[in-house]
Amino acid sequence: MFETALSAADLIFLAKGAGITIVVTAISVVIGTVLGILFGVLRVQLGPILSAPLTLFLDIFRSVPLLIQLVLANSFIGMVLKLQLSGFFVACMVLSLYTSAYCAELVRGGIDAVPGITRRAARSLGMSWAQDMRYIVLPLATRVALPSWIGLALGVMKDSALVYVVQVTELLKSTQILITRLQEPLFLLLICGAFYFIISFPLARFGGYLEKRSSND
């Protein structure tokens, strides 16, 4: 028979780690998406030349490994800015910007996919630039970008495992702590994987549902 030293208290410890993963992911995806929409719209609106500094800034977040971003941001805030920020705060900040950099690309692609003639029609009816954005462009861009956005959110959830480097004990770190103590790596990783699956399953299904719905009309 299978035997384990894993106790109920250990399971609760893991669940807490999962809770941290969910919270860090949720905060980063929400803030990252809001910033991403802002950056994406700005990029389209400013054109390639004026938006070059912003593009470069976002490219850095997309090309430097997240682990390095976390360590550098943490050291910079602590040693250069001399600020006492919690690891949780730094984690959310870095992960939000990281998310926003990818999201801005999705938003830009979505906006570019809206035909110019559709926007001209909206403006011809007397709609302002903002009304055109709000009622025509962003809803249409959302349809285009949503499947990839779901993928982005799932990716951010998995990437959030790296925030252990700024002393945030999320799901994977909690698992590692238990592995060190209990010496049952395979079993614990299996449970950890199950937690990740339970967290992402609803989002993945939601994505599938949205995709089906938007192909219906």
Partner: protein, 240 residues
């Protein structure tokens, strides 16, 4: 009244309008004919300020369209335009397509906007499609929806840019009938068209455009019966 005074317009090096003069009176229907690339579409998009001009003036009811002080969003409320390419808002139902601008631009209440939209959609023969999405409509129905959408803003002027040229031949008639009906109701219209029979039937005057110049303008009987400009003759011979 729409007054177009010596309008020049270039895209980069290419001069597309080379000094256009045209006055369209209230209640008048003017059709514009001419070869492809002669500047017809550009003229329409200059009239509602979608395109800037290089020199000259366009006045709509005395308001200079391209003056810095002009509120274009406000001016456009009284100038409806329907394009050649179908341009429905694909994420909105037919009814929502038509109510959007009255609600958001004119600030109308939902019920009021819907009443107006239903009336306009009925008018163009789409009373049974209110809840359909545009992708379920034929090209002709989409164009009629675009006409209803423009009319729901109660415009004083309507500009039509070859609204039938992207349609299958069997759908052209229903859209032209709708335009005819509007003309008979006294709407002030500028129609760019390739449909010569339509131009002859509904217009008070027909303008012939050639390479950015309005080569000739006159009553339909004169333009079609006794064209003065050699290019007009050539063009009419080619479309017959």
């Amino acid at each position: 009244m729409i007054e177009i005074q010596n309008v020049h317009k270039s895209f980069g090096q290419l001069e597309v309008l080379k000094g256009i003069d045209l006055v369209v009176q209230k209640g008048e229907v003017v059709t514009v004919i001419g070869g492809s690339g002669s500047g017809k579409s550009t003229l329409l998009t200059c009239i509602n300020g979608l395109e800037p001009i290089n020199s000259g003036k366009i006045l709509v009811d005395g308001t200079e369209v391209h003056a810095k002080s002009t509120n274009l969003n406000k001016l456009r409320r009284k100038i409806g335009i329907v394009f050649q390419q179908w341009n429905a808002f694909p994420h909105l139902t037919v009814l929502e397509n038509v109510t959007l601008a009255p609600r958001k631009v004119l600030g109308m209440a939902k019920a009021e906007a819907e009443a107006i939209a239903e009336r306009q959609l009925m008018h163009v023969g789409l009373g049974d499609k209110l809840l359909a999405y545009p992708s379920r409509l034929s090209g002709g129905q989409q164009q009629r929806m675009a006409i209803a959408r423009a009319l729901a803003m109660a415009p004083d002027y309507m500009l039509f840019d070859e609204v039938t040229s992207a349609l299958d031949p069997q759908l052209v008639g229903e859209v032209l009938e709708t335009l005819k009906m509007l003309a008979e109701e006294g709407m002030t219209m500028i129609c760019v068209t390739h449909e010569m029979a339509f131009a002859r039937d509904v217009s008070k005057r027909v303008a012939y455009f050639h390479q950015g110049v309005m080569a000739e303008i006159g009553a339909p009987e004169q333009i079609f019966g006794d064209p003065q400009h050699p290019e007009t003759r050539k063009f009419l011979a080619s479309v017959r």
